[in-house]
Symmetry: C2
Subunit: 408 residues, 2 copies
């Protein structure tokens, strides 16, 4: 199952073999495949002139949305007045609109999907779409039993930066045609209400992802929400202390990766120690994105650990360990991806060596009893990150009801 989490799992060796992605024949009109020169500066879009498309009216409808998608800010009123929306029922699937075909040209990543078969979930956002994507992904986790091995495949389609009624209605029409479920995050109350009404009219099941929590917060604070989408020109961000802290944390963490610059370990907030392929690097990066300066130190059989590791505050050091069978499988896959043949007997992935190295790490951990040791087998990077941060905050706060607190 394609999950958005990074996991160190109880995998079976066969699952690591390369499965070729199904490539399908492009179904978009050939004229669309000419390469448009996309310029995303603040200058007026010249796309309608340079693009050669059969259905230019469709493109015109999208030009405003495209301008916003490309980063240009458009002047528009904060709260729109009542708009007349054409709410004719959409045409049925067999009347198919050529301009609304689904993407079929893959690139070997998540958009490389064959959409035939499976249920669809449309995700619409007036912002980046990461909130609706995150929520739908988490909810899909409750259906792993049916998604596994694509028994009951689900296709998600994220439409972000949707701040205008027209593209919103087009998407809902298409959702109706395709029998898709619609999940949305739309800050503008008139957009959210229109989405709800259009879905009702056209028989599309829909869920407002942020509406309920926004309303609850509004009641709690006694303040009305702004109703402004993330990219609205009226919403401004202030570049604060936290901004610099996060940027610094990411830059620090990159520089410290894989045991680099051990002299800087004292500057780290969190230090991760573990043998190769226990997920130190992705975990470090995940934590850095949350604003923590992370250093990771590889434990390699027979290689002396940096002296500074034992000089720093031991409360900030975390050991990572993993089941030896799983580790061997991961290392074999790693060796394969590095181009070693399966017949190559390497110290790196041979079971005796894997066990020996884990034992060595275990002895290092035993000698440093203050370091918590986290078992990462079968855990997603996000999970291990949650454990690290809980322990970290627990130790810092020394309170009996562990939590991570933040002030807005």
């Amino acid at each position: 199952m394609a999950s958005s989490t990074l996991s160190l799992s109880d995998l079976v060796p066969t699952s690591t073999s390369s499965i070729p992605n199904p490539k399908t024949i492009p179904a978009t009109p050939s004229s669309v495949t000419t390469n448009p020169t996309l310029r995303s500066t603040s200058e007026p879009s010249t796309e309608p002139q340079t693009r050669k498309l059969k259905s230019s009216t469709q493109l015109t409808r999208w030009s405003r949305a495209r301008a916003i998608r490309s980063g240009r800010k458009l002047e528009r009123p904060v709260h729109r007045t009542t708009q007349t929306i054409e709410m004719k029922p959409p045409v049925s699937m067999d009347e198919g609109d050529a301009t609304l075909t689904l993407p079929v040209i893959g690139n070997g990543r998540e958009d490389d999907v064959e959409v035939a078969g499976g249920k669809s979930v449309y995700m619409v956002s007036d912002g980046t779409g990461w909130t609706v994507e995150h929520s739908v992904n988490a909810a899909l986790g409750q259906f792993e039993h049916c998604l596994v091995d694509r028994v009951c495949p689900v296709n998600t389609h994220l439409f972000s930066g949707i701040v205008d009624m027209e593209p919103l209605m087009e998407i809902i029409k298409q959702a109706a045609k395709e029998g898709a479920l619609l999940a949305y995050t739309l800050a503008d109350p008139s957009m959210a209400e229109s989405a709800k009404q259009a879905c009702k009219l056209w028989g599309v099941s829909s869920t407002d992802i942020l509406g309920p929590i926004t309303e609850a917060i509004a009641t709690h604070l006694g303040v009305s929400p702004s109703g402004l989408p993330r990219w609205a020109p009226e919403r401004t961000y202030s570049l604060d202390e936290e901004y610099f802290q996060r940027i610094e944390a990411i830059e620090f963490t990159i520089k410290q990766d894989d045991g680099a610059l051990p002299k800087n370990l004292h500057q780290a907030d969190i230090i991760l120690a573990g043998v190769s392929r226990t997920g130190k690097t992705p975990l470090s990066i995940y934590l850095a994105q949350k604003g923590y300066k992370v250093a990771n130190v590889p434990i390699v059989m027979g290689v002396k650990l940096p002296k500074t590791l034992f000089e720093v505050d031991p409360e900030k050091v975390f050991g990572l360990t993993i089941n030896h069978v799983v580790l061997q499988t991961i290392r074999r896959a790693r060796a394969k991806s590095l181009g070693f043949g399966e017949d190559v007997k390497s110290n790196y992935s041979e079971m005796d060596n894997v066990k020996e190295e884990l034992d060595f790490a275990g002895r290092v951990f035993a000698q440093n009893p203050v370091w918590p040791v986290i078992e990462v087998t079968g855990k997603a990077i996000e999970e291990t990150a949650a454990i690290v941060l809980r322990l970290y905050h627990d130790r810092k706060n020394r309170c009996s009801m562990p939590r991570i607190s933040k002030r807005y």
Copy 2:
């Protein structure tokens, strides 16, 4: 405002000055400050023995939750039978329970909060808590107008890994005492229902973050949700192609940072080019977390760009640009954080040089008209990432209804 987004903003220079974090006097009992030896292996927890606490009964209540927090998996039935929950109304604030005090010892990060004043939002999750945190953060974006300058401060408190009734009830009791709003993601239907009922009984406003979308997906697929929390032993992850792709993407991106290894540019999915402090590094890392191999190439006045940049598929190159006034402010702050005094006139942050370098970058972009140029001024890293990925998928898919699709 402390936002969880990384933004390159229309900042005013004064906002970059260092604001000392308010430190408060530790209010936890002194016996709690003794350093417990936290061991998070799969062995049985020895905490109750090694920890010396005044209120050991409270700790016992938490020991199971703590074991889970520390990563140990506990055996428990998939669907619990009806449980008797003690639902006495919680004591009022002035009867304060010493074991339920809020964290007051800061560490200079988000837990360094002074909780006096402001409204509280409690976030409870049976998993990592990142979904509820993400959603609450996004919803709080709708209240920037009142959060700015902490006119109406909000304190969020994340309680993750809550898979048992007792800690759940303790948290809701505390929320009632504090007059907090409760937002939760609880997969187990009996836990979710109990949370709802307890909140109703104790007068706590509450919102189920994932319930509605999970139900909608269940109806859509005609399949019941598993009701299993993220860390339940019954839920297993499969380490798939995507896992290796993401790990590889992160490792590749780190190695390619700041123009390193230009010979590898052809291996990148996405190449970012821009002058220093346009956010190339954090943007690269953000995109890498989503599974894209990203290389970033700095554009420096008078430094020749790598030949390979002009040899790769120009469709994967993205230029980043920024307003010169904002860039100068960011660079000045950067210079300051690097330890230069304010009186030091540096080429790096002097306006003439900043303008000249941006002009130089502009000429490079003009010579490569296929590269989209993204204006990052005032944009959060997440926003710029959304724009890059939309353009990227748009170009790959060549479909007129731009989307990012994924198959589960």
